[in-house]
Symmetry: D2
Subunit: 366 residues, 4 copies
């Protein structure tokens, strides 16, 4: 019951890290949408490992093979299925974890959940690889949204203790969006980006890993979408964002920072700007009462450090119920944040498209 | 499409702040569960205003009138409907907000969402009053969970810049749970609690408001529940938590704090404690790979300051498209956090019960 | 998990026959829809017992008391809650059925389902009374659909062995729709209607009951709505129709009659009629591949005879596991079909509105 | 929004008749279930064409290639994905139907639904081929149910005007179940089966087709599962059965036959049989109040004649809006009923497994 998501746009993800393939069925996209294949692959490539430096040495081509639902790169309106073969697998690395739990990994909780029957090779269904189909699906959604004037941009806000410059207060210009969308290591302040990459290399050299924060903006969403209570934009976005492995916090607008403020500081004054209703600040992240205001939707996701480290750690053998020490071999990312940026953008794209397609705001029969 | 929630335990909430009544239909509870009515009312009373001091002067009896589904305080297995009358309404206060948007309120986004047809009196369906039915439903869930050994406790972690002591590292003793569950202003450090209340009185005196953070622990949940990806425990909890008005951030375990750490600092070592598998620390908040580990589930919610303040603010008249200034009269909470504590607990109870009842871990025919 | 329905228009029904009230929360209706209250009550009145003749002597006012979601009879876009009090209850009639199962009633299966905790008075949640909230919700949907040119008409096709004239082959004129919509005993052939009513009176006199068939047409639905496979129009309609107590069969177009035909007889030839694409016959009931064709949607529901009869029957005491005989006292309908007509229409209205509001056929942002 | 189904067991089907592949993701199966691969393939083979006689000449190997979720034929508890390649495609046959509607096919309604963007080759997503993934998924469900003592058997009840013998009144013996489960043309009366096959060959020779009825029994389901109202067993079964292409009617127990009966004839008397509570007859098909009684679940599905016939028919060119005549070439089944039998069984298996896994009847934490 874990791998289905969505109200209108429904996605069903399958696969384990070392199974025959991973993939996704995307149902509910409108018919007649042209998909730019090159752009889609470029978007997916941002999630791939560069094979060294700040990423894992494991590289996968991650080429989505379309099984259905697209004819000449145009959506048929029927389910689009994409399959991504698992090729570069080294299953021998993982036999130990059938009984020894890697700290902060899902070995032990997965063992309990599936009574030991789950495929643990490469992390199985828990693997970060499962985000590749999500990025494929989000890549479709992203293109359909762009046609309605909705753009998504994200940057690496923090790695360890190094923080990037903040997003401009209320709006992002198109140039910045383009730059972030095509950057290997998307930051606003390039000098900070250099420091972050150096920090990642440093923890890697120590056999350690490091966490970080991704900040994302969705631009061009009209006001009046979403709902109060259970279908608030925050509820819908957070639900998908927390399904990204390693995400442990989500906040909108000023988020946790709002706890320390007074209303007179935190409220966003409404203003007229060139005849348009805007807010002067955007501490609520473009959402009031669960509903979009027309301002950019702003949110941040906290990623924990990759749990796989080669430094020695204490743990247990949960089958024998013995304490052990272990040092994790294998190929791992010292920091997942860079590769997670397009995953966050994909989650935002899917949620927004689903939310807009589910709206009853203006309903007309053909 | 906003007011239905749940996979197995389904709740459907209705009402506006000044409508005939508000209420909830709770479907999917097992038959034969005894409900302690006194305990339920005591739980709901924690959400009520004390009528002064740190709360709004508006007081409602908030007595749930059972319409169906309970016979002699035992669940029938059919939908339980509870209706709460709206009595203490002063509708004249609100006519202005049909055209003037209160900053950081849902007046403008609600106007766009419903094309101006929504009931704006008292905040309408956006009102914090709608959390009363949620607390009723959560109060039922809470009692059913307690019978399985699952307890929920929360405290006020922060008001403005004042912070309470942290929860004990890995486990809460039963006494502390009881104390928090029956406290008017639940904190771990009573001195800090006094300061917080003084701070709330101070901002009220200034016609201002203040935000805060609620921290919650769910104890006794066995390991192995929840799912990877879209039904992660984090996804399910956050989805309901973000439906609580004013929540702008949710984090699990060390949450945003994990971004600054290395894996060697952030990983929770597994240990054997009296023969039980535990973790030494609990920075992951009892959830790994979206699945419970058997450790306490820990999370925090950030609440923004109540947007209604009597201090003068800039805004717009969105019908006439004119800039205006306004000062909000009426009866409002200077800080919603105290009354939000049982709402957070209710959301946790409902999510956990839903998650446990939806599990296929052990399925047996009768 | 029984009492929630819908994808976009969501309804949550509560109540037992003898509980404080029964009712429904209807969520997902568009804002700004004017509700004609008189028409709504007239529609609900068609489901009420006339208090004698062909109906049960138990009469309920069945006045829906609006709790929320309507302001001056205009939808707010938020959940509409209607509560219907149970007044005319005679609970003493039912104590026997805590242990003796009435044949073809839900006494025994309900006992197993709810481990004996369900409220059995008056049939509890299984009672035909629960269709009153459904008719309320359908009455709202019906008015919203009518504004888009979609009309629903139904007649009593069969009672016992007496059958009404068939619907006109491909289209119903507006006069006939109006006549059926306002008829106490809606039939096409009034002489047959007289015979049917005489038959019902006859079985009543014998302490018996009789079954029948309702035939329904939905007119004005444009082609191209619905989906292949799991969201076929047939799937969606049948799912709600089979939730009406006593319905044991549903067929579309010529339904079971198609089994005996050859393709050359059963296929509906497409034709041009005044420039419009139509079919000459409508044996597929306006649905091909699960999707509407623009022809009237036609279906029939078979109702079993009311199981409550005063004739002596054999049964068991399921607590003592003894065979018994019983003769059912109390106030019952000798035939439920007449009162079921608006229930069928309500189910059709709700399904169609839900289906149309869920469509992604033409999606435009405001 | 058409290709996702299920509450607990979720299936997502993809594919067009001539796309790269068709397939299914099955989520929510319990972990640790052993799948007998040979039995699964034998079950799927019953849906395949025999390549002549009573079936279409188009033959597909229909070998499911497992992509994920199974390790050594044991369920992991994660999504099982099976992919079936489309090999034997002759796409040239279909170009005409981009503008000329085959009567009683989905060409025209599909054109409206998808604005002409759907893949029409071989019927596209509307093709009967899409039932192959359904049978795969049902084949898994069937084996899991069998382990709980639940068996499913179906026979061809009617072809044209020829009818098979009825199912035994209240129970089927194990031998009969086995025989039907392994029969090429499953009937109770072999002589009738011969006549039916002769009838199919006769209509084929005439370039025509013929309809029929499948009758199905689910044995061994305990009493007390399902729910009143919207989750009635009838609602859930019919919803999936009506997603099988060509099904136009579904009835339970005596179904439409009940309309002609009196209550005294239609009610099923409860009896004690070897100490077990049973009913003497089973006119309600094992379901009362939407809930299982412990008696066999009995239902029938009416299939319309295959719409593809080579006899000349009248139709329209819907792009040019002209009336035309056409005679359909290509490879088609003269009667789909034989191959539909395992599809009906698959739908029953999936529904029952979903229903049982969703039950809260007995919930226990591990």
């Amino acid at each position: 019951m874990s791998s289905n998501w969505g109200k209108h746009v429904k996605i069903s993800v399958w696969g384990e890290s070392h199974s025959e393939s991973i993939g996704v069925v995307v149902d509910g996209l409108p018919a007649g949408e042209v998909i730019d294949w090159e752009e889609l692959l470029a978007f997916m490539a941002r999630r791939r490992s560069s094979g060294g430096g700040v990423d894992t040495p494991r590289q996968e081509a991650d080429l989505p093979e379309i099984q259905s639902g697209l004819l000449n790169n145009v959506t048929c309106g029927t389910p689009i299925c994409a399959r991504i073969r698992n090729s570069n697998t080294q299953s021998k690395d993982y036999s130990l974890f059938r009984e020894v739990a890697r700290p902060s990994h899902a070995d032990y909780s997965g063992y309990l959940r599936y009574d030991g029957y789950n495929d643990i090779r490469g992390g199985g269904h828990f693997s970060g690889r499962l985000t590749a189909p999500l990025v494929f699906a989000g890549g479709l959604a992203r293109q359909i949204l762009a046609r309605k004037g909705i753009r998504i941009a994200a940057h690496i806000k923090q790695i360890g203790s190094i923080t990037d410059a903040p997003f401009p207060t209320t709006e992002l210009d198109q140039k910045l969006v383009e730059k972030l969308n095509h950057s290997f290591f998307p930051v606003l302040d390039e000098a900070k980006g250099e420091q972050m990459q150096a920090e990642i290399q440093r923890v890697r050299a120590e056999g350690d890993s490091v966490g970080g924060i991704v900040e994302c903006a969705v631009l061009g969403v009209p006001g009046g979408y979403g709902d109060p209570l259970f279908d608030s934009v925050e509820s819908q976005l957070s639900s998908l964002l927390f399904s990204i492995p390693a995400v442990k916090g989500v906040e909108f607008g000023d988020g946790f920072g709002l706890a320390a403020l007074c209303g007179s500081q935190a409220n966003d004054p409404f203003i007229l700007q060139d005849g348009e209703i805007r807010t002067e600040t955007n501490r609520n992240g473009g959402i009031l009462g669960g509903i979009t205001t027309g301002m950019p939707i702003l949110f941040r996701c906290a990623f924990k450090p990759t749990p796989s480290i080669s430094k020695e750690q204490r743990s247990i053998n949960f089958r024998r119920r013995e304490e052990v020490t272990l040092s994790i071999k294998g190929r791992h990312d010292p920091c997942i944040v860079r590769r997670a940026v397009p995953v966050v953008e994909a989650a935002a794209a899917l949620t927004l498209l689903d939310l807009l397609l589910s709206s009853d705001k203006r309903w007309n029969l053909q």
